[in-house]
Structures are given as C-alpha cells and as structure tokens.
C-alpha cells in the first residue's frame, strides 16, 4: 500500500507529502544505479559527439523507462507522478539529453492516449508504450516559438487526407523519431496532427547544433505537400494548442522541472566534492566563507526546487486541476534554480570548470536550455500570476 492510500489526509489533501513510499525509494535506487553506471560516465562524450548512441535508446526501452506514465490499461507502466519525477530527476542529473528523450516521447504518447481517435490509438499506442516506436513534438518553427498558437505551418483537407506545408525546427530527437505530434493551422485554426516520419512530403535534416542538450539529436523538418491519413488528427480543429499540445506540454513542464532538479543537485554534488579537495590560500575552498555562502545557496535552491516538484507531483497524483499551475511554478523555479546552481558550480571550479574535464560546463549549458523550453521563464512569468494560487 502506498503512503497516499494509507494516509490520504496527511498525504495529499494538503498538497504536501514529504515521505516517499517504500516502493518509490526502491525505484529511485534503481534509477540512480542505472543513471550512475550506464549514463553519467558517458554523458560528456555523448555531448561532444552531439548524439546519444542508439544502444542507449534500446536500453531505456528495455528497462520500461519510455512511456512510463501511460496508464496500464493503455499498455503503459502506469508509473505514479512522483516516481516518474524521480526517474526524470535521476536521468536529468546524469545527462539532460537522455532525460529529454523521455520528455518528448512521453509528451507525444500521453497526447495520443488522451486525444487520439480509437483506430489511431490501436495502431500506434502499443508500440509507443513499448518504445519500439519513438515520438517527438513538432511545435516550433523558424518564425514562431513562444507564440505557439500562431504557427505558420498549414494543413488542408484533400479528399480523405490532410496535406501539410511548412517548416519545424529544434525538434528534440527529431532525427530518430518515428512519429511527430505536430501543430498546424487548419483553416486558420491551430490543430494537432499525428505525422509519421515516413509520410510522403516530409524531409528531415539535422538541426543547427545547440549549446545544451547537445546530444538530443535535434531535427529540422520540411513539410511540402506532406500527406497524412484523415484520422491522424488529435482533438478537434482549433483545439490543437489549448488542449492537445498543452496537455503534452503540461507533462513536458513536469519533466523539465524534475530534470532541472537533477541538474541543480548534480552541480551541488560536484561543487561539494571539488571544494572539499582543492586547496587555495592555505585552506580548502570549502573553508572560505564566500564559498560556503555559494554552497548554502545551492543547497537551498536545489532543496526548494525538489519540494516544489514533489508538491506538483502529489497534486498530479490526486488529479487536482491546480496541478497544472503548480507544475508551471515548479518548472519556473527549478529551471532558474538550476541556472543559479550551474553558474555557481562553474565559478567554484574556476578555470577547471570551463573545460570538458569536469561536467559543470555541460550542466551550465544544459541548464540554460531549461529556461527556454516548455514555455520560457518570461512566458511563465506572464501566465503564472493569471490565476490566484490555490491554498492547500
């Protein structure tokens, strides 16, 4: 029995539960062991190569880490929100590029499960749940990012098919995805489509290299007279952003929030290690008060970020509508905290921190991306105060 079931009043109704169940602890230990042995030691090399290897994708699939939050009755693992957060944080701590694979695949999967028509789900969901087909999210375009409802890609119905024209960019794992959750304007209204990577008229190219999550195999897509079957639409015309993409982005934000916690904690750990080994001015770095101040801020930041993520996670488990806003708050705070921690980590490592010999430069580059994706810091600042936060 989980803590949530055992003590509902203490666990969720107040929106805060500070304990993990025995099962969640076990899961975390499993995730950490995997991340520390199979991911972290190679993350620097993957970053330099600008690609995670195919074997890693296979391993994530074999371990059941893809589509983990999908309900069991839909073929998923039905992982609870907090455990999913723990998985994301552990992978994020080791390698943000690896974490981002789960983020985008899971976003596509949950959108399909929630808004796909039965035949489309029957065709794709089992393979996506298993991870033998990979999904990605194609929202951004050269001219459109934050103002996502204004995408310029168009769709038109021709006979029994939809025909898509436009360009998408920055598509995480777009180089290897089998299918894209894609937003286009259908008669001027934002609408979500399910676009197989082998659809006629779709071409993909490697994206310009990015500073963070460099190994996440980003792609640029060109859609020219790209034809997809008529049932490859998710939700209804005009509801593609508000409901379908937003449903996916809500999970994406949750994942990025936890991934940011992972980065913040990795920065802290690297800094505690480094400053307790390096001597300067006759003392260990960690004995200097200004260094202690930085470490204290890092500890407080990473703790606070984790607590906001737990809170969002418990509310998600309870199915509370307010979980959407709490997830945004967690993403907003955690991504900024990761940046503060990464900045400090490089500073505390001095010149060494700027090299590839230590992971902190990578953490800093990865952290920056977290403030841009899934709704930038500025977009969160605009949206979060629109709703009076609920008291729990």
């Amino acid at each position: 029995m989980s803590v949530l079931e055992a003590t509902p009043a203490a666990a969720g109704v107040e929106g805060i539960c500070l304990g993990l169940t025995e099962e969640q602890r076990k899961s975390r230990a499993e995730f950490r062991a995997f991340a520390e042995s199979e991911v972290a030691p190679y993350a620097g090399q993957w970053d330099r190569d600008a690609r995670v290897p195919d074997e890693l994708l296979e391993e994530l699939k074999n371990r059941g880490y893809l589509a983990a939050p999908l309900a069991q009755e839909q073929g998923g693992r039905g992982m609870d929100a907090v455990t999913y957060g723990l998985l994301t944080a552990e992978l994020g701590r080791a390698c943000s590029s690896t974490r981002s694979l789960l983020t985008v695949h899971d976003m596509a999967v949950v959108a399909l499960a929630r808004w796909g028509k039965p035949p489309l789900k029957e065709r794709y969901l089992p393979a996506m749940a298993e991870g033998s087909l990979l999904g990605a999210v194609a929202l951004s375009e050269p001219n459109i990012g934050s103002a996502a409802t204004q995408v310029e890609t168009t769709a038109r119905k021709v006979g029994e098919e939809y025909v898509l024209d436009g360009e998408k960019c920055w598509i995480t794992f777009g180089q290897v995805a089998d299918v894209f959750l894609l937003l286009a304007q259908l008669e001027g209204k934002p609408t979500a489509f399910w676009v197989p990577a082998d659809a006629p008229g779709l071409k993909r190219y490697d994206n310009d290299l990015v500073m963070g999550t460099r190994a996440a195999r980003l792609a640029r897509l060109e859609l020219s007279d790209c034809r997809i079957p008529g049932d490859h639409i998710l939700g209804r015309q005009g509801f593609g952003f508000t409901y379908v993409l937003n449903y996916a982005l809500d999970l994406g934000r949750y994942s990025v929030a936890w991934g940011s916690v992972g980065i913040a904690e990795a920065c802290l750990e690297a800094s505690l290690d480094y400053t307790s080994q390096r001597m300067q001015g006759g003392a260990l770095l960690c004995e200097h008060q200004l260094v202690q101040r930085r470490l204290t801020d890092m500890i407080a930041d990473s703790r606070a970020a984790r607590l906001l993520c737990y809170r969002a996670g418990y509310l998600r488990q309870l199915g509370e509508p307010a979980a959407v806003q709490e997830t945004k708050i967690a993403k907003y705070f955690a991504s900024r905290a990761a940046n503060r921690c990464a900045n400090s980590a490089v500073q505390l490592h001095g010149a060494n921190g700027t090299t590839d010999n230590y992971p902190v430069a990578r953490y800093l580059r990865d952290a920056k991306v977290m403030e841009i994706i899934e709704g930038s810091t500025e977009i969160q600042q605009i949206i979060i105060p629109r709703v009076r936060p609920e008291e729990f």
Partner: protein, 83 residues
C-alpha cells in the same frame, strides 16, 4: 450539498477576481480565458463530476457559460448512466 452550478462557479471564481459570474455570462468575452484556465477547467469537471471530456466535447460552446458547462456535465452523466 453544493449544486453543480455552485461548484462550477466556485471553481471559476478563482479565475475571475472581484467579478461575480452570472449563470449565462460568456466567460470568453470577459477576456480572462487562457490556456491555463481552459486546461484546469477540463481537469476540474472531470475530477469533480467523474466524467471524461472527449474529442467531441471540445466545443467552445460547451464551456462558454456556467449554464453550458452544467448542461455538458448533465449530458455526460446521462450518457454514462445509459451506457
């Protein structure tokens, strides 16, 4: 026990500060509706009334007023009972 309408209004009140919402008032026309509200509203009716909003229910009319939301919930409940 609070009626459906009261529950819906109580939920919406969080979004419409200092504004008492009439049952037939167009919430979209008030200019407060954003994607955060839209998503939370779906989550709210699903959790509160134990229904699932499906593709076909995605119609702004269904969410335009308190009356319309109540009617949507009523239809979904009826469909569930007869299913």
């Amino acid at each position: 026990m609070a009626t459906k309408k009261e529950k819906i209004k109580e939920f919406l009140a969080k979004f419409f500060r200092n504004h008492v919402l009439a049952d037939d008032e167009d919430i979209f026309a008030l200019g407060f509706v954003n994607s955060l509200l839209a998503m939370q509203l779906v989550g709210f009716v699903e959790k509160e009334f134990g229904i699932t909003i499906e593709d076909d229910d995605l119609d702004f009319e269904n969410f335009r007023t308190v009356n319309n939301i109540e009617a949507l919930v009523g239809r979904k409940e009826a469909a569930r009972v007869s299913a």
